[in-house]
């Protein structure tokens, strides 16, 4: 089972590998600040699907749900059964 810390680590790694930042915190705005761009959205969705083990529906994408790693975790992982 992927733990919260593993999920957050994978998300941080994605931001650092793809974005324009030397460091990232879980509270940092990742799109609003320009670290990630629109071209990264699809890959981020794929990563969230992989980590959560389920497909995301467009209806689940709402303003603020990709604001930060904290927001992504709260929206797509918190209070959900995370499969191994």
């Amino acid at each position: 089972m992927r733990t919260e810390s593993v999920i957050r680590l994978e998300l941080r790694r994605f931001v650092l590998d793809n974005g324009e930042a030397d460091d990232v915190t879980d509270q940092m705005p990742i799109f609003g600040s320009g670290i990630l761009k629109s071209v990264h959205v699809m890959d981020l969705i794929l990563l969230i699907e992989e980590l959560s083990g389920r497909p995301l529906a467009i209806e689940e994408l709402n303003p603020g749900s990709f604001k930060s790693i904290d927001a992504i975790y709260a929206t797509f992982f918190a209070e959900r059964e995370v499969p191994a």
């Binding site: 990264h40 959205v41 969705i45």
Partner: protein
């Protein structure tokens, strides 16, 4: 109200299948509205430009337009100038039985008809480095293919006035916030039933387009929606999308940009629907000073 508005009975309005013909008092109203929007642009000393009807296809390709909006694109087509080809066309009768042009060989298509007024600015300022925020305005006849058309409301060819800011993210955001507040005050002052709503652009296959998904999670477009169904204006924050595509710099970064856009025919529809067809019943347009004073 829409249900009772009969556009075929409006003086100065001719209905065409994909557009409209405006004259008389209605045309005068459109001109006053456009001057009002130019007056809004003047608050930022925006320089006015007039661009050609065509925009290079290469510029739209650079914006990924043909991937995102192929269903909206319209192209100017010309015949291949070879005399034999022209001869074939001129002797063919030109149209088929249903009125469709029977083209012979066509010349390469390297342009599109302008789909949005502000695109021309990014091409115009390509490669520039801005030492201060730049404010500009233009009016363009825009073209967007649609599944259905309705005069004044949804036309293949329509008039768009835009006021554009190019600058840092904070400069553009400040411009959009002020412009949005002023347009909201304007609609209240006139008495139009308008609500500001979050919106996304009409992408082709949106679920597969990261730009649409990005607009869902990071709202960058807000529309002034008349009577719950018709966007008569919008504000759009492009971030650095156009700045990156056209290498326009603001300081050490790609410039950000944003625009406020007005669909002039749709403003006419909102006026007619709200106040009726008689020009005597239409309210005077306020000045921006009056709108400011009212807060």
């Amino acid at each position: 109200m829409t249900a009772t508005l009969d556009l075929t009975q409006i003086d100065g309005l001719g209905v065409r299948d994909a557009g409209s013909v405006v004259s008389g008092s209605l045309l005068a109203l459109e001109s006053r509205l456009d001057r009002l929007f130019v007056g809004l642009a003047a608050r930022w000393q925006a320089e006015e430009y007039r661009f050609p009807s065509f925009i290079p296809a290469e510029s739209l390709h650079r914006l990924d337009y043909f991937h995102s909006f192929p269903h909206l694109a319209t192209f100017p087509v010309a015949l291949d100038p070879d005399p034999e080809n022209l001869s074939r066309f001129s002797s063919s009768g030109a149209l088929d039985g249903e009125g469709a042009v029977q083209l012979t060989l066509t010349a390469p298509i390297r342009h599109a008809l302008t789909p949005a007024a502000c695109y021309h600015f990014y091409l115009q300022f390509s490669g520039e480095s801005l030492e201060a925020p730049r404010y500009v305005t233009t009016r363009a006849t825009c073209h967007r293919r649609e599944e259905r058309y309705a005069p004044l409301e949804r036309q293949w060819t329509f008039s768009m006035r835009e006021v554009v800011c190019l600058g840092s993210a904070s400069e553009v955001e400040a411009f959009l916030a002020e412009a949005s507040a002023l347009v909201r005050s304007l609609t209240e002052r006139i008495g139009l039933r308008v609500r500001v709503e979050r919106a996304t652009d009409p992408f082709f296959r949106p679920a597969k387009n990261p730009k649409f998904l990005f607009q869902k999670v990071e709202p960058v477009k807000h529309e002034f929606v008349f009577d719950g169904h018709l966007a008569i204006a919008s504000t759009n924050f492009h971030r650095d999308y156009f700045g990156e595509a056209f290498h326009i710099r603001r300081g050490s970064d790609a410039t950000c940009s944003g625009c406020v856009a007005f669909g002039l025919e749709r403003w006419l529809f909102a006026f007619l629907d709200t106040f009726g067809p008689a020009p005597a019943d239409w309210p005077e347009l306020p000045s921006w000073e009056e709108i400011d004073a009212r807060g």
